[in-house]
């Protein structure tokens, strides 16, 4: 597709969780690339490692029990896995990469008015550069606050939050789910980031509001040229929103393609079954793939899908298939190709 270098490149990311029941091999060599200005959908059933991937990129995997055992996360020429926590917090998280979380009520601190949380995000990650300790002190001053509030209000208007001035003094529980989602989008865009990670942001909303918010998100990020890694289990959302899609299954990515190509020419058996499980276009939830998702404590070797795959061959249980290029921008990891 584009020849520009990717904004974010995840290579062979491996992540384990040590639990009482055993070691969960949550991510087993995940690869994905987000190109400048694009919206990449990351699709898969729940528990397949989408959210774990997002947390690994942000460097907020709880450790213990989590442990990143291999791979690289390249962002702006740096490997985020090698950056110290301080640097991550100062330059990357909430500044170059921001998050739109899934649970809108749970993610907002319940005991502070909105203003506090928005101001703190901007205060610690001003788009103009932080200016050291002196800069921070200045940002506790009244003048900075006035400017910052103006900036915040402008953004709240852009996300079409009703009564933005009044909203600043309200607490999270006083908004509707859709309003909170708009707020969280505004919060994610506030530091003017390079990449936004959206973790199933519209799952809890009803369909009409979901469509409005997705349209709004797409317009805002396209205007700014911000890249988005959009995590979802909902293929309908993918079709409407994303430029490209990466499909994940049980901690591995199986196929990456431009959205249109994925829907018209799905290559991996898992992708095919995913699409086949959508009987008509009104029904958008994933369901009806035979078999069960394997336990990740003792995962199948080779291609993890082989236990449920009708076309599995002997080698599928032995080695993980390499990446094959089917068409420009369309790659698949399957021994059939």
């Amino acid at each position: 597709m584009s020849s520009a270098p990717p904004v974010l490149e995840v290579r062979d990311l491996c992540l384990r969780f040590h639990t009482d029941q055993g070691t969960v091999e949550a991510l087993d060599g995940v690869n994905l690339r987000v190109l400048p200005g694009e919206i990449l959908g990351l699709v898969g059933e729940s528990g397949c490692g989408k959210t774990a991937t997002a947390r690994a990129i942000l460097g907020v995997v709880p450790a213990p029990p989590g442990e990143i055992t291999g791979g690289r996360i390249l962002f702006g020429g740096e490997d985020l896995l090698r950056l110290p926590e301080r640097e991550l917090a100062r330059r990357i998280r909430g500044r170059a990469i921001t998050l739109i979380p899934q649970d809108t009520l749970g993610a907002l601190n319940p005991v502070f008015p909105l203003r506090t949380q928005l101001l703190d995000v901007l205060r610690w990650h001003p788009p103009e550069g932080d200016g050291g300790l002196w800069g921070l002190l200045r940002r506790y001053g009244r003048r900075w606050r006035r400017q910052a509030l103006a900036q915040i209000l402008a953004l709240l208007r852009q996300v079409q939050l009703p009564d933005p001035e009044g909203a600043l003094a309200k607490y999270p529980h006083e908004f509707s789910g859709g309003q909170r989602q708009r707020l969280l989008i505004a919060m994610a865009l506030l530091p003017n980031p390079v990449l936004v990670i959206a973790d199933e942001p519209t799952t809890a909303l009803d369909v009409t509001i979901q469509a409005q918010i997705l349209r709004l998100l797409r317009r805002l990020v396209k205007e700014r040229g911000t890249s988005v890694l959009f995590i979802t289990h909902d293929l309908g959302v993918v079709a409407r929103l994303c430029d490209r899609v990466t499909v994940m299954y049980a901690g591995q990515e199986v196929e990456t393609a431009p959205t249109a190509a994925l829907f018209t020419r799905p290559a991996h058996p898992y992708t095919q079954q995913l699409l086949a499980s959508l009987p008509d276009h009104r029904k958008e939830e994933l369901e009806g793939i035979p078999g069960v998702v394997p336990s990740l404590i003792d995962p199948p070797r080779g291609c993890r899908f082989h236990t449920r795959c009708s076309q599995a061959r002997p080698e599928c249980a032995l080695t993980r298939p390499p990446e094959r290029l089917l068409a420009p921008g369309h790659t698949v990891r399957c021994h059939l190709y």
Binding site: R55, L58, V60, P62, L88, A89, R90, I92, R93, G94, R95, T98, L99, P101, D103, G106, A107, L108, N109, P110, V111, F112, Q117, D120, V121, W124, H125, Y171, H173, M187
Partner: protein
């Protein structure tokens, strides 16, 4: 507006509780004892004297009438007369209350200023040697009899080491009374000698009183912080790159404090009851010591007055805690 409504609701809920409290004390005083008048009159009273007293206090009338009379008396702010001092009990209690207040506030300050940071640290470094040590201390705090702790502290610090006074409230002429709290009065009047003496006298009783409460606050703060530590919003705040000291000191603490604050309200009752024994051991001239003297002298009205007064304070403090909780956590008001 919503807050105002909530406040009004909580105030209204106080009324039946207080009424129940009065009835309870009434039952304790008039129904439980076989012959309350004999209690009132003392052991050496003649049958004629008892009969006269019975009539004078209206104890020969039916119980509901007595309850009504009692309520009417309380509504006038009259808790009766002390059989020993002969003064109205309200006068006695008010005169001695500042001493108890000073002691309780000092204990509360120790509890909160020490207990909250320790609880936060224990949660942040859970299962470290510090956490285990603190757990041992808190478990002891809840198992120790405060009168015994008081005596042991006296034995060590006052009798053996001679560092701190054995008892009493002050060793020099008290500062000019403004608030009745010696430490505060000494500060306000710039009386250095009184301040020094008052603080020295306050040390051991306040610590004794605070120790069990401290244990509870540490435990609850630790549990509260652990609860919040794994919440989505802390994860989100971290994902948004807010620095850890800010997250812990501002966003996390405010949430964890909600659980602790509820406990602090309940602890006030523990402190109030603890004041009875602590004041006894340290000869602290507050309402607790008053109650114990009343026990010794069988000054029955005074004990009931003290009981009612304690209950009233306790209800009041719990109301204030609820209102504080509402300010801390705006969701409270909608519950």
């Amino acid at each position: 507006m919503r807050r105002l409504l909530y406040t009004a609701k909580r105030l209204a809920l106080m009324v039946p509780t207080l009424f129940g409290l009065v009835v309870l004390v009434f039952v304790i005083s008039r129904v439980i004892p076989a012959d309350p008048v004999a209690l009132l009159a003392g052991e050496r009273a003649t049958p004629q004297q008892i009969e006269a007293l019975r009539h004078r206090y209206g104890l020969d009338r039916p119980l509901p009438v007595q309850l009504l009379a009692y309520l009417r008396q309380l509504a006038r702010g009259d808790l009766g007369t002390s059989l020993y001092s002969g003064r109205p009990i309200t006068t006695d209690l008010f005169g001695r209350f500042p001493a108890t207040l000073e002691l309780t506030l000092a204990a509360m300050a120790i509890t909160v200023l020490l207990g909250v940071p320790l609880g936060v640290l224990a949660a942040l470094y859970r299962n470290s040697w510090f956490d285990h040590l603190l757990r041992a201390v808190t478990v002891s705090g809840l198992a120790i009899a405060s009168f015994w702790l008081a005596i042991m502290l006296q034995l060590l610090f006052s009798m053996e080491l001679r560092l701190l006074p054995l008892g009493g409230r002050i060793g020099v002429p008290p500062p000019r009374a403004l608030t009745g709290l010696f430490v505060l009065d000494a500060l306000l009047t710039g009386n250095g000698a009184a301040l020094r003496s008052a603080l020295q006298h306050l040390c051991l009783p306040a610590f004794t009183l605070a120790f069990p409460a401290l244990a509870t606050v540490v435990r609850f703060t630790r549990a509260g912080v652990l609860d919040v530590l794994h919440s989505d919003f802390i994860l989100y705040e971290r994902a948004m790159g807010l620095p850890r000291p800010l997250i812990v000191g501002k966003y996390l603490l405010r949430n964890a404090m909600a659980a602790t604050l509820t406990q602090i309200g309940l602890l006030f009752g523990v402190l109030l009851a603890g004041a009875v024994v602590v004041e006894t051991v340290f000869d602290w001239p507050g309402i607790g010591l008053y109650a114990v003297n009343a026990i010794v002298l069988s000054d029955y009205n005074a004990i009931l007055g003290f009981t009612l007064w304690s209950g009233f304070l306790y209800v009041l403090v719990n109301l204030l805690t609820d209102l504080g909780l509402m300010l801390l956590d705006p969701r409270e008001a909608t519950r």
